[in-house]
């Protein structure tokens, strides 16, 4: 922009050459990633959308254009509807329990001085562990005759429960395991948020008369955690929405379809029954939903601006 004011004889061509060189370098640096982006993201997405309007099955010789039939079928398919319902039920439990549980744990741990890092390690441990391996442990724990949970619950007066094979309880059990893995993650995020609240604010609140725990929480803690809470809510929603591992390891959608979830049904349709076109349509719906969540998140994160 200030090229003309440079007092040397032939600056413009030199600068232009330099800019060309930098642009070339930029393009060269970005090329491998850009190629991968096309090969792994862009091209598959286009193929996906095209597949979703066909009746393609893996290995089939003939392909027919079927319009929106796959989409129509999806919404009348009892399995898919059940999967949607189960997934939302799962989210409906894990989301509030994960967010408020994480917040409560963070508040308790934050107040501890010497034992704080010990609790942090313990609660974060499930986050770092391999969920599939830990799910086999859970399966064993919940085994009606070999595991300790059933007799323990029986001793507490719940009767002998087979949590993973009871259609009424299986989904809730998966949700509890999901919560077990997720709580530490949310707790750590909230802890970071709590540490960022200036101590001055609590002191100002104390002088203003907000001395009780309720007032302190409502006037200072909760509003100051607003952005963190938004973030935790969205990440929890997305990860709960993608529940898959525990279903594969523990229930395979059973008993009686009580734990069919979106990703599990998608996996079955696409890679077991090889109804590729139908699975593609499902994937498009999944993607639409995830994009919606992301937009929501971008919107909500903008609200951060209004805070200090």
């Amino acid at each position: 922009m200030a090229v003309s004011s440079v007092p040397f004889a032939s600056p413009a061509p030199q600068l232009a050459a330099r800019e060309r060189r930098l642009a070339l370098a930029g393009a060269a640096f970005a090329a491998p990633a850009a190629l991968l982006l096309v090969a792994i993201l862009l091209a598959p997405l286009i193929v996906l959308v095209l597949l979703s309007v066909t009746d393609y099955r893996l290995g089939a010789v003939a392909v027919r254009f079927v319009g929106l039939a796959n989409y129509a079928e999806m919404f009348s398919d009892p399995v898919f509807r059940r999967a949607i319902r189960n997934t939302f039920l799962y989210v409906a439990f894990v989301l509030p329990a994960g967010v408020f549980g994480g917040l409560a744990l963070a508040a308790l741990v934050h107040a501890r001085k010497r034992t704080r890092s010990l609790y942090e390690v313990i609660y974060f441990l499930p986050v770092t562990s391999t969920l599939v391996a830990m799910a086999t442990v859970w399966q064993f724990l919940l085994h009606p005759s070999l595991g300790p949970v059933t007799p323990l619950l029986a001793a507490l007066g719940f009767g002998r429960l087979d949590l993973l094979n009871d259609p009424d309880l299986a989904l809730a059990t998966l949700a509890l395991i999901g919560l077990w893995q997720l709580l530490g993650f949310n707790m750590v995020l909230f802890l970071a948020g709590l540490s960022a609240v200036p101590r001055d604010l609590y002191e100002a609140a104390a002088l203003d008369g907000a001395a009780g725990a309720v007032d302190r929480f409502l006037r200072v803690t909760w509003p100051m955690l607003g952005p963190t809470t938004m973030f935790v809510t969205i990440t929890t929603t997305i990860s709960a929405f993608k529940v898959f591992d525990t279903v594969v390891v523990l229930t395979r959608g059973g008993p009686l379809g009580a734990t069919d979830t979106l990703l599990y049904v998608l996996y079955l349709e696409g890679f077991h029954y090889f109804r590729t076109g139908y699975a593609a349509a499902m994937t498009v719906v999944l993607l639409a939903f995830l994009c919606l969540l992301s937009l929501l998140q971008a919107r909500l994160i903008e609200r951060r601006v209004h805070y200090a």
Partner: protein, 397 residues
């Protein structure tokens, strides 16, 4: 500071506080008169903030008592001590509007817990009426501080000076018995600081409330305070009016801290007959130290004069000019005195004095400096100030 006066203000007795092993306040007594503007002045880390926070109830003292308006408040939480505080960071609630920030202290007092809970609060028929009253008061305070146009903004949308005023307003709405302020001007730029300084002094005059103000800026302290408590290492070195501290510093430490540029300190010895010797010059003080006692002589920069007119016949010292600084209204001469060890000294001249001296050729090396009576202080071996004997108020040969 007689008992009768201090009963209405803030009275601290034997306040001590340690953090871990380090002693921050060492059994400190202080009586603040009702309605006065008392400044806690001292170097960084001397315990000013800690003392203020103990008065507010944000920190608990290890021992000692705090009384406000004649009543011990040690058992009371901060909100019930009838004090308000302006924080250095202002500590405004970032998610609330200015109006919300100003209203909070009143809401906390006048609404019940149920009337403050989200959603549920709307069930109370009384709440709307109370809130109308609160908002009227908020508007009145905002007008007094000229921030009524900002009531709907959030703190992030305000300038530093505006935030400062909101913080002040939040303290004012409650009409507390005591205002506590911890370096409230330190986040403002220089020009704004001077402006707000005047406003604070005005505000104090208008409200007539007790102010306890913490700063490490002596200009702030000198210009606003009724009295200053100069602190160092958890103790009060001197409590007095700005004049007291400047003209009658209780100790060498006080004399060194107050005044800019700092005063010149010369090591001398007592001559045994009430005076001291500076080279060839004898200064009589009427003190009672034995001959040979080591004493310190403090000379304010403006206590040095050039031998012009009536000042020409004071006790005189020879000096070599090192550097002269022009500050506009005054000049600072950095000199080395013609005494053993060539001690450095700073001389302050008004522009007029400097002009006259130059015209008379008095700025040629070596300089002759004359000592004025005012601004020359003698300190004993323990650092305490030696009161000049009334018989020798003038320093004459």
């Amino acid at each position: 500071m007689t008992d009768g006066e201090s009963a209405d203000g803030v009275r601290l007795t034997g306040i001590a506080k340690s953090f871990g092993g380090t002693r921050v306040l060492a059994g400190l007594d202080l009586a603040v008169r009702a309605g006065e503007f008392l400044t806690l002045l001292g170097p960084s880390g001397c315990g000013k903030s800690t003392l203020l926070r103990i008065i507010a109830g944000l920190e608990r003292q290890d021992c000692g008592t705090v009384s406000i308006a004649g009543r011990p408040v040690d058992h009371l939480p901060p909100a019930e001590r009838d004090v308000a505080m302006v924080f250095q960071s202002y500590a405004l609630y970032p998610h609330m509007t200015v109006a919300g920030n100003l209203a909070t202290p009143l809401e906390m007092r006048r609404l019940t817990l149920l009337e403050r809970l989200p959603l549920i609060k709307h069930l109370s028929p009384r709440r709307a009426r109370v809130m109308r009253g609160i908002m009227a008061e908020v508007r009145a305070v905002a007008e007094a501080l000229r921030i009524e146009a900002l009531l709907d903004r959030k703190p992030a949308q305000l300038s530093g000076g505006q935030r400062q005023r909101v913080a002040l307003g939040r303290a004012m709405v409650r009409h507390p018995a005591v205002f506590l302020m911890d370096e409230p001007l330190s986040n403002l730029d220089a020009a704004l600081r001077v402006e707000v300084r005047h406003e604070l002094a005005d505000l104090h005059a208008r409200l007539g409330t007790t102010f306890i103000y913490v700063t490490h800026d002596q200009v702030e302290a000198m210009t606003m305070s009724s009295r200053i408590a100069l602190m160092d290492q958890g103790r009060i070195l001197q409590l007095g009016t700005p004049d007291d501290l400047y003209d009658r510093p209780a100790s060498l430490a006080v004399a060194r801290f107050i005044g800019s540029p700092s005063l010149t300190v010369l090591e001398t010895v007592a001559d045994g007959v009430g005076g001291i010797r500076l080279g060839a010059v004898r200064l009589p003080f009427g003190h009672r130290f034995a001959a040979g006692t080591r004493l310190s002589l403090g000379i304010r920069p403006e206590a040095f004069a050039l031998p012009l007119g009536p000042e020409a016949d004071g006790p005189a010292l020879a000096a070599r000019l090192v550097r002269a600084e022009n500050l506009g209204a005054e000049w600072h001469l950095h000199v080395r005195l013609d005494l053993p060890g060539e001690p450095p000294a700073i001389v302050r001249l008004t522009a007029a004095e400097h002009e006259a001296a130059r015209a008379s050729g008095l700025l040629e090396d070596p300089l002759t400096l004359v000592l004025r009576a005012r601004g020359v202080h003698l300190f004993g071996p323990d650092g305490a100030r030696v009161e000049p004997d009334p018989a020798h108020t003038a320093v004459v040969e």
